[in-house]
């Protein structure tokens, strides 16, 4: 029998356009797998020459799913360029906006993208293995999901004027305070939303408990991990220092966000437009790391809200305090963060400064720093915005390392491991290929962000013979 290649294109229920090629050997077994991202990357270049303060609006156009993350990372980079330290109330309001996005993004991922596999099964008929199948199986759960997403989106709208591409964070702070009515209305629904998040955690944990053998072996591999932490090592999503933990659980590095270039480098492969970041001191490929919910919970020592911290303690027991390696645990970590985001909203709204009108710092001098780095934890992982300007504030260099880009190597590795474990070229089934997609979906990638793509977004698995002939392709 000839060796063959499988292409999964597009990979579904992720954000963006990607492609997986599975190369089979002459016995029909998986030899090698590649996760390709074929989108065009060009945003960094066409921003050059623009005034730096436009970037909070320009960069969030990269994506309609995570505009808030780009908006906030950009604002922080602009703070640096303009030498401005936002007042405390402005930081609280930015974080509140961020938590609104976490609630809608994590909620949508679990109920809309992950749940079809978890609730209906990897081998369920693809015609029903989707959100519509979830609605049919459990309409009450689906309504809860819609409600949770609506809640997160409304927080963004209340602060930023609209749900997609808000206008809120500006260099030095934010452009409008929170009013009492909006604060009270957000608070009024909070308990209901925490209840929905608890239901999601319960579903996730039940599924993990019932499938522990699979969960522990599915796309499980050692790596380093990255995430923001506060000064006490607690989980941080808006601010803090970057911590990198090695595969053994040792802190490999902890550094200020504006020092990132001394620690992070990017590797290029010929078969993908998406670069492969890695920790400089460990080199390529030993320095590859994972970001996002699993990365953040692995590097953190604690979580600063009670319910999430209780779940966090259970999470840490999974591998006896060492980093949790299984990709499917991303779902559990994501749900813990969902609880945290809701609890954090309560903390922020209870803060006496949250209604303050002291929301913006103004420059005392026209002299710019000429450089600024802004880092936030986007729902999908660590997001870097780095701008350099001339003396007039026109951008001379833009560097964006996006959450999904940080997980590029991990998605490539995860899809390869799952292909080897489940794909048999002699008896190919849709469920086998769905597992390869599911490995990528654990990371909730946003490929349009990662490549800063313009234009179409579709993602594809291809089966290729030893002689290079394409034998099969899944393109939904």
């Amino acid at each position: 029998m000839n060796a063959r290649k499988i292409t999964i294109e597009p990979v579904t229920r992720i954000e963006g356009h990607g492609r997986v090629t599975v190369h089979l050997n002459e016995e029909g077994k998986v030899e090698q797998t590649f996760f390709h991202v074929d989108e065009f990357r060009g945003l960094e270049k066409f921003c050059e020459g623009r005034p730096y303060f436009e970037m909070t609006q320009i960069t969030q156009r990269i994506c309609g799913i995570c505009p808030v993350s780009h908006h906030l990372a950009s604002a922080k980079a602009c703070d640096g360029v303009a030498r401005l330290e936002p007042p405390r109330p402005a930081k609280l309001l930015r974080e509140l906006l961020h938590m609104g996005q976490y609630v809608q993004s994590h909620g949508m991922h679990f109920f809309h993208l992950a749940a079809p596999d978890l609730v209906l099964g990897f081998d369920a008929d693809p015609a029903i293995r989707n959100v519509f199948g979830i609605i049919a199986a459990n309409p009450e759960l689906a309504l809860k999901a819609v409600n949770l997403r609506r809640y997160g989106q409304q927080i963004i709208e209340r602060l930023g004027g609209k749900r997609v591409h808000p206008n809120f964070a500006v260099p030095g702070g934010v452009n409008s305070p929170l009013n009492q009515k909006d604060r009270d209305e957000i608070l009024a629904e909070l308990d209901t939303m925490v209840g929905i998040a608890k239901v999601a955690v319960s579903i996730g944990k039940d599924w993990i408990g019932s499938n522990m053998e699979l969960v522990k072996s599915f796309a499980t591999f050692p790596s380093s991990y990255m995430g923001l932490v506060d000064m006490e090592g607690g989980l941080q999503l808006y601010d803090g220092e970057i911590r990198v933990m090695d595969a053994e659980g040792n802190i490999a590095a902890q550094f200020r966000t504006d020092h990132y270039l001394s620690y992070v480098a990017e590797h290029v492969e010929s078969w993908s437009f998406l670069k492969f970041p890695y920790l400089r001191k460990l080199g390529w490929p030993n320095g590859t790391y994972r970001v996002g919910p699993l990365g953040r919970l692995n590097v953190a020592d604690k979580i600063g809200t009670p319910l999430a911290n209780e779940e966090f303690k259970l999470f840490k027991q999974i591998n006896s305090g060492k980093p949790v390696e299984g990709s499917l645990f991303y779902h559990y970590a994501r749900l813990i963060e969902l609880v945290y985001a809701l609890e954090r909203i309560a903390q922020l709204l209870d803060d006496p400064d949250i209604l303050s009108t002291d929301i913006r710092a103004y420059p005392s001098s026209t002299k710019l720093a000429g450089q600024g780095v802004g880092v936030v934890e986007a729902p999908r992982g660590t997001l870097f915005h780095d701008y350099a300007t001339d003396e007039n504030g026109q951008l001379t260099r833009v560097n964006l390392i996006v959450a999904t880009g940080n997980n590029n190597w991990a998605m490539h590795t995860a899809s390869g491991l799952v292909a080897k474990a489940f794909v048999d070229g002699n008896k190919l089934t849709e469920g086998m290929l769905n597992r390869v997609e599911a490995a990528i979906r654990c990371y909730d990638p946003c490929l349009s962000c990662a490549t800063h793509a313009i234009g179409k977004m579709p993602l594809e698995i291809t089966l290729i013979a030893a002689d290079g002939k394409v034998l099969d392709r899944i393109s939904r």
Binding site: A127, I135, R149
Partner: protein, 181 residues
């Protein structure tokens, strides 16, 4: 035409027989013709004597009339909460198909096709969700307008701009015909 629609609407509301209609325009204002629905919505609002939407407004804040209209970047699941209050929904969007009429007006029936992109919800999907989750089945129509230019700017191409008023005419005729029973 607009005076006739307003007068008839007042009459039908008075008689209590007017269906509530929501006109939903969606698209990306930053991508030229992709934002054509914004211009259609505002042309309709102008004819109906309603407040024009600024680029920062969606119209969601001013719902409650017999004929409401909104403009969004994309269709989203939480729109279902809004749609439960309406008997008729008219979707307005841009299209790129050479083999479809430049102004393509057609009924929308519920349908669910698994999305290639998770955040992509189509009018048939939205109506299907609505039926499944809320047991509501408003009449659906799609007004789809041919776009020619999807570059990064906020102007309509000449050919697409010429389709704005005909699209509004169609929507108004739809409003009249559905209430003239």
């Amino acid at each position: 035409m607009d005076i006739i629609v307003c007068s008839l609407a007042t009459f039908y509301i008075y008689k209590g027989i007017m269906n509530r209609t929501l006109v939903i325009g969606f698209g990306n204002l930053d991508r030229a013709d992709d934002g054509v629905a914004y211009y259609v919505i505002n042309a309709l609002r102008r004819r109906l004597g309603q407040k024009i939407l600024s680029e920062e407004m969606t119209g969601l804040e001013g719902l409650g009339g017999e004929i409401d209209s909104i403009f969004l970047s994309q269709l989203v699941p939480e729109l279902m909460d809004v749609l439960t209050d309406y008997d008729q929904v008219i979707f307005v969007d841009a299209h790129v198909y050479e083999n479809v009429d430049n102004l393509h007006c057609t009924p929308v029936t519920q349908d669910y096709t698994p999305p290639t992109f998770s955040h992509n919800i189509t009018p048939p999907m939205l109506l299907a969700f609505l039926k499944k989750l809320y047991h509501r089945e408003p009449n659906g129509y799609l007004v789809s307008i041919r776009g020619y230019d999807f570059d990064f700017h906020r102007n309509l191409s000449v050919d697409t701009k010429a389709l704005v008023e005909p699209a509004v005419e169609y929507i108004q005729s739809r409003l009249l015909s559905d209430n003239a029973h």
